[in-house]
Symmetry: D2
Subunit: 352 residues, 4 copies
């Protein structure tokens, strides 16, 4: 089977008004992503809020994505369940659907030692009917360290790749230098689009990026420009992507900001499974306005009716990049709202 | 309803040879715990490996514990599920069984802001048919900070307590000083038995302790000695409990060491859901020998056939406490094994 | 020589209008502290901002304190310098002045391994002409772990104690249980007054507390009540001390809040060596008002002219303690200032 | 004055047999570095162990470097002292010597808030007679965040650059995108040579690299290849540098491994100021053998007499890079030593 490469979208999941998976919209979203140039699909990743669904829902999501894909793109399906036995059942289910590979996040909640992380993946790799990629995201789950990844790559042909979400270039270089010589088929994917171009430059095969739910044509363009050897242009888009990424990641709970961005592209996500307070809802509206201004600069959406703060002119090369931080886009018209929120927050905290 | 107090056991779950819940042994364990003096039972806590079961199994565990308890002790049932809706369904199930309260851990995997942690618990508290205790364990889940706990305590009578596993005395004092004046019914439980006596001294109502699965008579004795005003004796036992706790917690994955301890008391836990490597299994055997020596000192089990290293004589008061660290109990006879393990580990890491 | 015990004050250093050590005021402060009941003095600790002085100034501070003390109390002098050779010279200087012992913080800036921390202290202990206490403060310096402290205590009679500022009860218990049996002369001091009473209960000999610069009579009273076996009263004061401690520690840079508190007691600290912005100066004033209200409740100072927010009545025992968090004392009259500061901060951050 | 760019060497300091600065060797080293192609010199950086010297020694080091340089290269002199006043005096001293700029690390030991970090640098920038670069190294000192760096760059023309040692590409991109448009003269230097090429690609002007003490020709070559547009070759050398960097950084205390590497190049560093245990000395020897093997592969030194383990052949492009981890170079001949060390360590820890 061919090696995994390119940009895989960890698909965000739309909900209906009852808080259930909105199947028609999810199908529409899958085709929209394919039409906008992503290289592959990745249901039940962190962006897909896999921990907020029950096992049956996770299977249903994979099934919908597979059906709607109709064989057009390779699919990596998140298959982590509560324990090895149920994870293996999810692997079998995914294999039955014909997906290309599964992705298994390291055990979370309990923080395991490297030896136990190895034992967990070894047990799965030994019994899986389908290729698997390791998923390293130490900010949420037990870390998978370099010796463990190498050990698994050396011992199990079924382990065909790593998705790493640390954004740590040197970590990825250590992996590539230790594993690629003996496993040229092994895939290295980054989950941190803030540094997608540098990751490609050190030899990564691609990435799985939450941002590709929102601007699939941009992540695709960056990848294509890099592969075409046009580094300067790739870096210019990388800087613009970073601005958008920061504005979707930091001010929101994850992955709410990415849903807000994709909503602006016309996908309807409904009300999520994470309860919000009134002050969060008001803040959400303001932050979404900022996203709309950034996306308007990409010529992908119209600017908000209330207008956007003046933004610096674009520079033509990375060394003069001018992407402004999201916070600079808060215009004077938002002061009132901000003060209001601050006072609310003070009340909430018992200060007033 | 009466206020929760005393030592609640976060019940370890026995497995059968197929890796399923061993119901007869779980029932036997419940009664054994009751017979040995615990004040309450707490199924589906962290010690109960709740994340390694599926939703149906978690319900079954609660049901077994409730049935076997036959109304003898108050029960707090862990009821956290993948999202608010399913958590509320688990609360209803628990309420139907007649448990005293549920315990809900803060959302994990994703690390939420305090505002979202508030929103999550508020939504549950608003709709729960049963009293609930907050469960703060920041090493595994989103932290619940002091203002958030206070806010929830102020707004929702259904929120009747906090279980905090940080072991941070000052944190608990801040909670008590801010919440107890207006909510005298609110229960403060510590999950860190290393400092049970100091926690009782600052005003905690009790604790939920993994160690009470292993030495229920000791945690009970500490509690009783403290309530009887016999601080010196309570502290002496506290020092001994710390030695045991350290030996069960740090050298093992959690909660494997506690299962090893309870196994020595005659409960059969079977093979757990966490895969182990051969070197872990060998290490497990050695570490369990150390536990057996410590428990033999408590006169609760016989020493291992291979004997125990000489241990320092006990002192009669805290200021001369002599509990030795677990590592001191490794006798010369273990050198061979240790060197063997080190070499194995070096091989595993690719050094040899 | 007698064992170190009781409350040692890590002396804050007053400055004159030129930013130099204000010697007369420092002398006055030393005698004020002695008159108010502290058991010992500790120049050049973290509260004494030892890193903000040059080596000559640090010696001068020790000299002034020794002179003014006139043999009344035991003195522990901070003696850490840039390297072992200069640290040993500082030890000799301190020995020449007749102080009881020196305190040496673990190397900072570079984070050393336990083996290097051991080597550092061993080299000093081997050559020091004076008894030395180890100073463990992992939030600022390389941590000194339990095996290292034990190793140093076992090998070097010159190492006579540990000052630990983690506030971790279990850590201190591990130290006491491992070291006290073979070194009954070894002193265990806590640097975290938030949990002074619990630390005394587990067997600590005393503490070195920044708060004792501000309320020496309170830290003394807590110590005396505990030693007299009056735990309930000790805990009641502990809760009140926690409120004050939190209000001096968290809202300020360290040790600025403690200087603000001692200033309210009539000691003049001048302008410190840490530059402040205008918004910090405004905030400082508000925070100091809160401190004044807390200290007024202790009947140690008059309340501020602007009055204090109503505070909850005191409860008579720890389990009903009612100390309110500092933030609750911000009355409606401070809203304007707060909003102003928020807007300033927004401007500073480029949001407005 | 021209903008700072290229590779600046944070000079390691040789000691004589009395533990004093070895001036002749330091002079020889300066000229050796210049002869081997570095672009600039940086005395009193972290590699220069500035915290292990007293103020007079730090001045002397700068003076020696300036003298020996004889105007050949631009010099950035570390000038952080115990407080603002003394730091400004060091700035004046450096200015008097004619260095190009000073570098000021953020305050360390105490961890300051962003506002205080701002106030500290603002006070210095307001009064400094010489250009200054900010030095961000959050693993050792208070972090300097993006808004603070921007604020300082916006307000003070004297602040002409940042040296950031985090290795975080996205952090550097945020800085560049926010500051470069209005301050095209501002210099961005990375202190993390593990990712030098990616940092250059995103627009950095150069770096200050401990490794350039050891392989100045390699760091120069990487820089030149990148500037010449030969990215593939630059990345190939980057991978080789990473292997060396990892082998000098992680197994040693910093900067001991870099001194061991430069010693192999013929510079004599003497015994450092950090005491070592016997087991550290033995380990040092083994680790240095590994360094020698790596440097022999660079054709910069001869291999050790005992030979080197077989190393994988080099690949011709990053995507097939084959740099092996240092640990792979431990041959069977080292087993005996390792077992010995393990046993020693166990003894030290009290296990045997």
């Amino acid at each position: 089977m061919s090696k995994l490469q390119g940009i895989f979208t960890p698909i965000l999941v739309p909900f209906d008004e009852r808080g259930q998976i909105n199947e028609p919209e999810l199908r529409r979203f899958v085709s929209w992503l394919i039409d906008h140039g992503v290289h592959g699909l990745y249901p039940n990743g962190s962006s897909g809020e896999f921990t907020r669904f029950n096992p049956a829902e996770r299977r249903r999501i994979t099934q919908i994505v597979v059906e709607e894909n109709r064989g057009r793109l390779p699919i990596i399906a998140g298959a982590a369940e509560a324990n090895v036995k149920e994870t293996l059942a999810a692997c079998e289910f995914a294999a039955g659907l014909g997906v290309r590979a599964v992705a298994i996040v390291a055990p979370f909640y309990y923080k395991l030692t490297p030896e136990s992380v190895y034992a967990y993946f070894a047990e799965i790799a030994r019994n899986s009917p389908i290729d698997l990629t390791l998923y390293n995201i130490p900010m949420f789950a037990s870390p998978i360290d370099v010796p463990t990844i190498r050990r698994l790559a050396d011992e199990f042909p079924r382990v065909i790749g790593i998705k790493d979400s640390t954004g740590d270039l040197a970590f990825m270089m250590r992996l590539i230098s230790q594993i690629r010589p003996s496993r040229p088929d092994f895939t290295f994917l980054t989950g941190w689009e803030a540094v997608l171009v540098p990751m490609l430059m050190i030899g990564c095969d691609g990435g799985t990026h939450a941002s590709s739910n929102v601007v699939p044509e941009v992540t695709r363009r960056i990848y294509d420009l890099f592969r075409a050897g046009n580094l300067d242009a790739a870096m210019k888009w990388q800087y613009r992507l970073l601005e958008l990424f920061d504005a979707m990641l930091y001010p929101f709970e994850f992955p709410v900001g990415f849903k807000a961005g994709a909503e602006l592209r016309g996908i309807h996500f409904g009300i999520g499974r994470l309860p919000q307070t009134d002050s969060q809802r008001a803040e959400h509206k303001n932050l979404t306005n900022i996203l709309q201004c950034i996306l308007a600069d990409f010529d992908l959406v119209n600017p908000p009716a209330s207008g956007c703060a003046i933004r610096s002119p674009e520079a033509s090369q990375p060394s003069q990049a001018i992407a402004q931080p999201a916070s600079k886009n808060i215009g004077p018209e938002h002061v009132q709202q901000l003060v209001h929120e601050v006072l609310d927050e003070m009340k909430n905290r018992g200060i007033l």
